[in-house]
């Protein structure tokens, strides 16, 4: 690593008035440093450097500003840097202000930084507090939901930011404010084809929100109507009869032949887990049964190949077609699980995971076998062709 004197020299190159080519080299070098963990830890020990770099995000040279943003992105990915960035240097208010500027060129980079900073609960809490003071979550949601807000940035990572923020109950209660229209704006994005990040962020947000079962009735009511938006990505171009169609929620009726299902298996799993959360209460189970979630899931189960996702689907289907639990156990989230039962359940879960892993390995091996066979077949025909030629 750099010596103290070298670091000081480097610092001197990072002033706004330095010649651009010298500045550029310095930032480039630091970008390289920030690319690995040791480099990040070193920079952590030299907060002056970070302060200088942070100031340079406003540099007139786009290349330099961009490099500085990328350095901060790298730093923010390392949790040990969070204290320095958020509490000591206080980068968040500045970044938020720029984020709101519809002309700003680096809003995507800002979104990524903020998303990194909110991954872990401790810093997330601090960031949320600053966010509420400076900008307010409602405004963030508005910016996010307005696709044309900033022509220089897509702001998809704000979805990830929202998802991270909702690990906090205070953020969740804000998003699920019954007196405002916040969560409703997010719902259409569960189908957003153009970005898996945005889609995943929104679905992650909804998933976290569904942990609060007190809100389930409201979420499932017409005021929000979360259910169709969770089922749509799982529904395919099934040719259902007119009768079956009429029994589905409006958004799921008469889907066209080119309807595609969600292509990311992790997101599919998350959707199923969210639906499972909604079955925790008796009324939630009732609603899902009444609104005919089952046929959608039945067809989905037939289509799904990934064993982890299939398992999640089966869990959900079991609740939907199973009997109601006995008196006192109706809210599955509030049931007291005795210790020995809990232990057994955990063991069963672990075993299931193991088997799923094995299953996945097996499938992977099968696929590789297929590939090898295909390529060896190809080789065979090549050889045949060659021998043919010689003849």
């Amino acid at each position: 690593m750099l010596s103290d004197s070298e670091a000081t020299e480097l610092l001197s190159f990072l002033t706004p008035s330095t010649r651009p080519d010298v500045k550029g080299r310095a930032t480039e070098y630091i970008l390289g440093l920030s690319g690995n963990r040791d480099g990040c830890r070193f920079l952590r020990s030299k907060p002056d450097l970070i302060v200088a770099l942070f100031a340079l995000i406003s540099d007139p040279s786009i290349a330099i500003a961009k490099d500085c943003y990328h350095i901060i992105i790298n730093l923010s990915a390392d949790e040990t840097l969070h204290q320095v960035l958020v509490t000591d240097i206080k980068i968040v208010p500045v970044l938020l202000k720029k984020l709101l500027d519809p002309e700003h060129m680096f809003s995507d980079q800002i979104s990524t930084i903020l998303s990194n900073l909110t991954r872990h609960q401790k810093t997330c809490k601090t960031v949320f507090k600053v966010l509420q003071e400076e900008v307010g979550l409602a405004q963030l949601v508005e910016v996010f939901c307005n696709e044309c807000y900033n022509k220089n940035a897509k702001l998809h990572y704000l979805g990830a930011l929202l998802s991270n923020l909702t690990q906090l109950p205070e953020a969740r209660s804000y998003i699920m404010d019954k007196d405002r229209c916040v969560i409703q704006r997010l719902l259409p994005f569960t189908q957003y084809q153009a970005s898996v990040v945005r889609r995943g962020g929104v679905i992650g947000t909804l998933h976290n929100c569904c942990f609060d079962h007190a809100h389930h009735d409201w979420l499932l009511s017409d005021n929000v109507d979360i259910l169709p938006f969770l089922l749509l990505p799982l529904a395919g171009p099934e040719d259902l009869s007119e009768e079956e169609n009429e029994g589905l929620p409006v958004d799921l009726q008469y889907l066209p032949e080119d309807k595609q299902r969600e292509e990311d298996p992790d997101i599919r799993k998350m959707l199923l887990e969210t639906l499972l959360l909604l079955t925790a209460t008796k009324s939630g189970r009732k609603t899902l049964k009444e609104k005919n979630a089952y046929p959608i899931l039945r067809e989905f189960h037939r289509w799904e190949k990934d064993p982890h996702v299939t398992a999640a689907c089966e869990k959900l289907v079991q609740v939907l077609i199973g009997d109601e639990p006995e008196e006192g156990m109706e809210n599955l989230m509030e049931v007291e699980i005795p210790e020995d039962v809990e232990k057994k359940l955990k063991e069963a879960d672990a075993k299931e995971e193991e088997e799923l892993e094995k299953e996945q390995e097996r499938r992977k091996q099968e696929e590789e076998e297929e590939e090898r066979k295909k390529s060896s077949d190809a080789k065979l025909t090549d050889r045949e062709q060659e021998s043919g030629l010689i003849k």
Binding site: C181, V250, L255
Partner: protein, 389 residues
């Protein structure tokens, strides 16, 4: 001291009452009518009135509409006037008042926004949605956070079934008034309508597709049997060689839309494909002797004519005065219009076989057959001078 002076004539005036009767008092039979003339007691303003009959009202109106008053005051009075008409549900008059108020151009933005919004409400209640929307938009332009204008605009969009725009209006409104219940309510309703409309579009598309594939299956079935359809209105070209004929007939099938199949019969019956893959045709039987006809709405192609004729003539029809149309006496023909040739049909053959005849062209989607009584004088007459095959 002043009280004892009677310089002001007050005492004398008061004394008069002791001696003279009060004139122009209300009397039993006209007091209600008179009451209504006093502006203070009017329940509604008269539409048109003569100033002489209602002098006090005329006075008040003159004060209200006095051109010398500052424009803001005039505009405000007109607003109040409009509001009064609005309360009476006299929306036309309300609009006139608001319009007059806006014409004053008083420069008070708040007042203008209110006038426009109220006019929008009046239009709304008259069902003039576009005018209402226009006014609401104008109000919004002057005062972007004017809640009533935002609500009204959203409502107009919903009435005009422009649900996306309604949602946009609501979202604009919610920016300034995030907790407004009415806006949230309208937004939720508009969103619901929008999604229902999207479903309806999908449904129509699916149904259209289904209909289309059924159509195609039907035409394919007809074509595969080698049955030829005559496109209604297509002029016959006189092709001489058989190749030309085949080309023409397959062209007729190729370009055929279902219109070529729709029967011109009043019943509107049409050929269809049943679940076993058999075609059922609407068939016309003509009896030129008596200018009569019979219509079988669904003649299965696998049935033969005798089956139907036996049923149709199990009881002799009323127009058969000679009582000669017995099933065993009947002869069937079809006409090739182009060559003006009659082809005899063996009643024992199936419809399908007959339709597959090289010279059989189905006109207007409904095969027709001529029925004659063998050996009758009409039969002789009809067949003489015709080419028969």
């Amino acid at each position: 001291m002043a009280q004892s002076d009677s310089d002001d004539g007050m005492d004398e005036f008061m004394d008069k009452f002791k001696t003279q009767r009060y004139k122009n008092a209300f009397c039993e039979n006209n007091w209600e009518k008179e009451f209504d003339k006093v502006p203070m007691f009017m329940k509604t303003a008269p539409e048109e009135f003569k100033p002489q009959e209602y002098p006090e009202l005329a006075c008040l109106q003159a004060i209200v509409h006095d051109e010398d008053r500052p424009p803001e005051e005039q505009a405000k009075s007109l607003k109040d006037e409009g509001n009064a008409y609005f309360k009476e549900k006299n929306y036309q008059k309300a609009i006139l008042s608001y319009t007059a108020g806006l014409k004053k151009n008083c420069g008070d933005q708040d007042l203008s926004a209110v006038l426009l919004t109220n006019r929008a409400a009046s239009h709304f209640h008259l069902g003039n949605m576009r005018s209402a929307l226009h006014d609401a938009a104008a109000a919004k332009k002057i005062k972007p956070d004017h809640l009533k204008a935002l609500i009204r605009g959203a409502q107009c969009c919903v009435e005009l079934r422009n649900f996306s725009e309604a949602i946009q209006w609501c979202d604009e409104g919610l920016k300034a008034h995030p907790t407004d219940k009415k806006l949230q309510e309208i937004r939720a309703a508009a969103d619901k309508h929008k999604r229902a409309a999207e479903r309806d579009a999908r449904k129509a598309k699916v149904k259209g597709k289904k209909l289309q594939s059924e159509k195609e299956a039907l035409l394919a079935a007809i074509k595969s049997r080698g049955i030829k359809l005559l496109q209604s209105g297509t002029p016959h070209q006189h092709g001489s060689d058989s190749d030309g004929e085949d080309e023409r007939s397959s062209a007729a099938i190729a370009q055929l839309s279902l219109d070529g199949l729709s029967s011109q019969e009043v019943t509107g019956a049409q050929v269809f494909l049943d679940e076993q893959g058999s075609l059922h045709w609407p068939v016309l039987f003509l009896y030129p002797e008596h200018q009569q006809s019979d219509f079988i709405s669904a003649f299965c192609e696998n049935n033969c004519f005798t089956d139907h004729l036996a049923v149709m003539f199990s009881e002799l029809p009323p127009w058969d005065t000679d009582r000669k149309y017995l099933p065993q006496n009947l002869q069937l023909y079809f006409e090739d219009e182009e060559t003006e040739t009659l082809y005899q049909v063996d009643p024992e053959t199936s419809l399908l076989n007959t339709l597959q005849h090289q010279r059989f062209f189905i006109k207007a989607g409904s095969p027709s057959f001529i029925v004659l009584v063998n050996g009758s004088s009409f039969w002789k007459q009809f067949l003489s001078g015709k080419k028969i095959k």
